[in-house]
């Protein structure tokens, strides 16, 4: 059952992404509606896939990279649907959906087995959920940053093409960038704290400077600086766009590194 839902989701997200990319290049509003519809159904199927998997297996949720990535993709689509329904920025889908799709495909490529965890790690899902939601915020900031740089470039070079007409105003993109960090950063902070607490229970130390923990702290410091820079010395607009792109690229590279090293559980 979960596998069937998962496969359906993949197909629907693939279609949704394809339509949203076609929307970028065509003068047709219908394409974005189709994309939104397909993605919406995909999201329902995705939700069912996540629920049935947890119920069927009776294990700690979010304990494998497969589940973490699938959940990341789900939350990203959730954010997209929320912003789309509220602000009607259709073009956002053309940038977020590919990311959600890549994340889901990566999840599909990773082993689906559930690692057996020591009983003390049974609450680790709280840490993982918070960290993933924080990362979703950074992902949206990353997307807003890319859109910002594209629109900035089009305006500067005076290329008023289809993309120019579809992208939202620059200050909206900057606002989206800011809000994503403002929401993502506290979630990551809580994620790190709960992670440290779990580590304390499991291993008896809050921090043992393994690569994941080190990188998590580096990420935290980076986004802290980005956020403070914006609030105090005006690191907004183009600079904020660059910083959030670099930051998220760092997060992704770290994650890839951790997975390739073959660590079992996320914790």
């Amino acid at each position: 059952m979960p596998v069937m839902f998962f496969m359906t989701t993949m197909v629907l997200y693939l279609a949704g992404t394809a339509f949203s990319l076609a929307y970028l290049l065509r003068r047709s509003e219908a394409l974005s509606k189709v994309s939104l519809g397909v993605t919406g159904i995909g999201f329902i199927s995705h939700t069912l896939a996540l629920i049935t998997r947890v119920m069927a297996a009776d294990h700690v949720p979010l304990a494998s990279f497969h589940e973490a990535l699938s959940f990341f993709s789900w939350a990203l689509v959730l954010v997209f649907l929320g912003v789309e329904l509220r602000h009607r920025i259709h073009v956002l889908g053309s940038f977020i959906l590919p990311l959600a799709l890549i994340s889901l495909l990566s999840a599909a490529a990773l082993p689906k087995e559930v690692p057996t965890l020591e009983p003390v790690l049974r609450t680790v899902w709280v840490h993982v959920t918070l960290s993933i939601l924080g990362t979703v915020g950074f992902a949206v900031a990353f997307v807003a940053g890319i859109m910002y740089l594209i629109q900035d470039g089009l305006l500067k070079s005076k290329r008023f093409n289809i993309l120019y007409t579809k992208l939202p105003p620059l200050d909206y993109l900057d606002y989206l960038n800011q809000q994503s960090i403002v929401l993502g950063f506290p979630l990551l902070t809580l994620g790190i704290i709960t992670g440290a607490l779990s580590a304390e229970f499991a291993r008896g130390s809050y921090l043992n400077w393994n690569p994941e923990q080190t990188w998590a702290l580096v990420t935290w410091v980076f986004y802290f600086v980005v956020l403070m820079g914006r609030l105090t010395v005006g690191w907004r607009a183009k600079r904020a766009a660059y910083l959030t792109i670099i930051g998220f690229a760092g997060v992704v590279l770290t994650f890839i590194g951790v997975v390739l090293k073959g660590h079992g559980p996320v914790a």
Binding site: R27, Q151, L155, K156, K158, F160, Y164, L167, P168, P169, L170, D171, Y172, Y175, V233, G234, W235, R236, A237, K238, R239
Partner: protein, 469 residues
């Protein structure tokens, strides 16, 4: 009953002819009364703008209708002879007249395709026609339909969305940088016409704060009063620039007034919030290298003109979509008009049959003398059954054929077979207020088009002197 339009527009007549024929609003009522006094003209609407003078009319007979309206137009201006006028006129009848009206309303026939004023002008013309009872059932329906078609075209195509003037292109660009113009401040440097117009457009689009500077301090004061803005001394405006989100520059200066370092400092003070600079002066007043500064967006008059040109092409593409909508809507109206013809015929036919039945029943029943209620009922029932069965086929055929190509032929035939001419005509006059003299027939329709006019349309209509005169 036929719908016709006779008129001239910017496409067929030079301005010398158009201005002679144009009817000022104060004399529109009088002109309509004169139009409806012509024999055979049942309804009329007169649309007179600086780009077109058109008479829409419902007439008994198409050819004579054309002649009458042409006479009416020639009489409008004494020094204009019929021979001078005719080469500039166009005539459309039936579906072509309806589709012409829809195209005009949707601004597809305008000099600048998609400009918004024509719809307001049509509404005004309709209002006057209603007030003078010149418009009746048919034109009421057609004009209201034209207004809704125009709105549909406006919402479903991008025809009216795109800036087609340089000053408006500046607003369009501003909206790609700032999402909420009402929180933004404009700095107007110099009193050039183009920049003033752009400032006016920005205000119409929500801008509330405006700073004004001119070399002549009196000029700034006067402009501040007009735009409800704040005057800024000319030698200080570079410092004030940090406050401005949008800088509109249009002076007669022969050198750069705003240099790269001025903008750099402003952006630093603005903590990197973007600034949008529009240079509308020739020679230019803003150093072009400003465009390379991060978060500064500089556009000059050529950039704006390029944008306008692109939009024109885009509008033409959207216009093709709008034309298809017009065709579709003409089809809808065509159905309505045909049903209008068949309904009175059916009513008359039923009435005629009922009269004959009643007359014959009375005759027979009185001859038969005392009958039980049961027997009476039986005879009456039989009479009704015969009448209904005889009529049934004809009525069904009439209803179905009314929408076919030969619909009017069937209606005509039915009228002749059953000798219905008088009834049908009287049935129709009841619905046509200006011929039947029943003015209340169109009253319920009145408030709709008048109240339907929206604010923004008006505002943009008044403030676009460069779009359309």
């Amino acid at each position: 009953m036929n719908i016709i339009v006779v008129g001239l527009s910017h496409k067929t007549a030079p301005v010398e002819v158009r201005e002679m024929l144009a009817v000022p609003e104060s004399r529109l009522g009088e002109a309509l009364n004169r139009l409806c006094a012509y024999p055979g003209i049942k309804e009329g609407v007169l649309l007179s703008t600086c780009n077109r003078v058109e008479v829409y009319a419902v007439v008994d007979e198409m050819e004579s209708g054309y002649t009458r309206v042409q006479e009416f137009l020639a009489d409008t201006h004494l020094s204009l002879s019929s021979e001078q006028l005719t080469p500039h006129l166009y005539w459309h009848g039936g579906d072509h007249a309806i589709s012409h009206l829809f195209r005009v309303a949707a601004s597809l026939d305008s000099m600048i395709v998609g400009e918004p004023q024509i719809l307001g002008q049509l509404k005004d013309a309709f209002e006057v026609a209603l007030a003078h009872k010149a418009s009746g059932v048919i034109l009421n329906k057609l004009v209201k339909k034209a207004i809704s078609v125009a709105k549909r075209v406006r919402t479903e195509t991008k025809i009216a969305e795109m800036a087609v003037s340089v000053s408006y292109a500046a607003v369009e660009l501003a909206k790609k940088i700032f999402s909420n113009l009402s929180e933004k401040t404009v700095l107007l440097v110099g009193a050039g016409e183009m920049a003033k117009l752009a400032a006016r457009h920005l205000i119409n689009n929500g801008v509330r704060h405006i700073m004004i500077t001119t070399r002549d301090p009196h000029g700034a004061l006067e402009l501040s009063r007009r735009f409800n803005g704040v005057p800024v001394p000319f030698d200080e405006f570079r410092r004030e620039m940090a406050e401005a989100d949008i800088v509109l520059c249009s002076t007669g200066a022969a050198h750069y007034l705003i240099r790269a370092e001025d903008v750099q400092r402003a952006i630093r003070l603005r903590m990197n919030r973007p600034i949008f600079l529009i240079d509308m002066s020739v020679p230019r007043n803003i150093d072009p290298t400003v465009g390379t500064i991060a978060n500064a967006f500089r556009f000059d008059i050529d950039d704006l003109e390029m944008r306008v040109e692109q939009n024109r092409e885009e509008r033409l593409r959207e216009a093709a979509k709008a034309e298809r909508m017009v065709e579709e809507e003409v089809g809808v109206v065509r159905q309505w008009l045909k049903s209008l013809e068949v309904t009175p015929t059916i009513v008359a036919l039923r009435k005629r049959a009922e009269e004959i039945k009643q007359a014959e029943l009375e005759k027979s029943l009185s001859r038969l003398g005392n009958l039980s209620p049961q027997e009476r009922g039986l005879i009456e029932g039989m009479a009704s059954a015969i009448v209904n069965k005889l009529l049934h086929g004809s009525l069904v055929t009439l209803k179905t054929e009314a929408n076919s190509a030969s619909g009017s032929l069937f209606i005509e035939a039915a009228k002749r077979f059953f000798n219905l001419d008088d009834e049908t005509t009287s049935g129709r006059t009841e619905q046509l207020p200006n011929t039947g003299g029943q003015s209340d027939a169109h009253q319920p329709d009145r408030p709709v088009p008048v109240a339907g006019r929206s604010g923004p349309e008006r505002a943009s209509a008044q403030d676009m002197p460069d779009e359309e005169t």
